[in-house]
């Protein structure tokens, strides 16, 4: 049975039988991103209608594999470059793609979950946070300046509202480079706390301004094409 299973899995483009961690399995319902559920249900319905399974219409690219690659970076902490900043390492393991797969899209999705600390803050003018994203180009040795090992990718202001606010960025070229062993040093996301923003009145800010920062969740949507599984065969 084992050898038959292995043959069948390889026909499905899987080098082995996946063995997800028990926690992932237990939380199955909750952990599947709603966007993927929607795409799954749409493709199930569409298959009856004969849509093209080797194109991902939602992103308008060629592909038959859509992965929500989880962020394996550490939790957010004080920033090394400014006092009232928080920074979070982001790391996406791109070695999960098989060498045969052609990467057609890698889109970073960062979601900010903000909750006002006090009702009065809701009446305050609209809250925003300054976001900077850096690419890390080599690991930082002790005593060296982290800034020297990072390159800016993005810097913008995000307007916050109660509930999730998301930021998307195409990182396809960068993610392609991460597929080479030893070339993936991840990203750094830096959030500038509101206290540094003069438009906020000081008496509304908590003692530690970083407490006012939103919770950050990140994932990388990677769309790839396995050419062996997308052959156009002549039909009778």
């Amino acid at each position: 049975m084992k050898s038959q299973e292995r043959l069948f899995l390889s026909a499905l483009g899987l080098s082995e039988r996946p063995r997800p961690a028990a926690a992932a399995r237990q939380a199955a319902g909750r952990r599947v991103p709603s966007a993927l559920w929607r795409m799954f249900r749409r493709s199930d319905g569409a298959e009856a209608g004969g849509s093209e399974p080797c194109t991902v219409n939602e992103y308008g690219v060629r592909g038959n594999i859509i992965r929500f690659v989880q962020d394996q970076g550490g939790s957010a902490g004080p920033s090394s470059s400014c006092d009232s900043c928080l920074e979070k390492q982001l790391f996406f393991n791109m070695s999960v793609l098989q060498p045969v797969e052609l990467l057609s899209l890698a889109q970073l999705e960062v979601t900010f979950h903000w909750k006002p600390l006090r009702p009065a803050e809701l009446l305050q003018n609209q809250r925003s946070v300054s976001v900077s994203l850096y690419r890390v180009i080599r690991s930082t040795l002790r005593g060296a300046s982290p800034q020297a090992n990072r390159r800016p990718l993005l810097s913008q202001t995000v307007k916050l509202q109660p509930g999730p606010t998301s930021l998307k960025m195409d990182l396809t070229a960068l993610a392609e480079g991460w597929r080479k062993p030893g070339r993936n040093y991840g990203l750094v996301l830096e959030l500038l706390a509101p206290s540094a923003d003069p438009s906020y009145s000081a008496n509304l800010l908590p003692v530690d301004p970083t407490l006012a920062l939103p919770l950050v969740r990140a994932s990388l949507v990677a769309v790839s094409l396995n050419p062996h599984q997308c052959r156009s065969r002549q039909r009778r």
């Binding site: 299973e5 499905l12 483009g13 082995e16 039988r17 996946p18 063995r19 997800p20 961690a21 926690a23 992932a24 399995r25 199955a28 952990r31 599947v32 991103p33 993927l36 559920w37 795409m39 799954f40 493709s43 199930d44 298959e47 009856a48 004969g50 399974p53 080797c54 038959n64 594999i65 859509i66 992965r67 929500f68 690659v69 989880q70 394996q72 393991n93 999960v96 599984q229 997308c230 052959r231 065969r233 039909r235 009778r236």
Partner: protein, 113 residues
């Protein structure tokens, strides 16, 4: 003068129902959805004369003719899928990433000789 047993509808080439249940093969711990699907398969005879409904190629029509003249030397044409549908699978990979994957030609919709 060879005797042909009368063909029952169930013995001619057509799609047969086959439901693959991922739990049966122990894959339910990494496949999120579907829990299984109707894969079906083709089975049955391609007899002479090949009727229109058996979706035969010209070659298959020729082969049934030769088979009727020389059943030992030339087999009947094969009963194979001629129309297939894709299936999508949602599963966890080894890094607990959620993956949606589309596979072509996983469901037999129609068979022919």
């Amino acid at each position: 003068s060879t005797f042909h047993a009368p063909l029952t509808p169930s013995s001619v080439c057509r799609a047969r129902r086959l439901y693959v249940d991922f739990r049966d093969v122990g894959w339910h711990d990494w496949i999120i959805a579907p829990q299984g699907y109707m894969a079906n398969y083709c089975h049955g005879e391609c007899p002479f004369p090949l009727s229109e409904s058996l979706n035969g190629t010209n070659h298959a029509i020729l082969q049934t003719l030769v088979h009727s003249l020389d059943p030992v030397g030339t087999p009947q044409p094969c009963c194979v899928p001629i129309r297939l549908s894709p299936v999508s699978m949602l599963y966890y990979d080894n890094n607990d990433n959620v993956v949606l994957r589309h596979y072509q030609d996983m469901v037999v919709d129609e068979c022919g000789c």
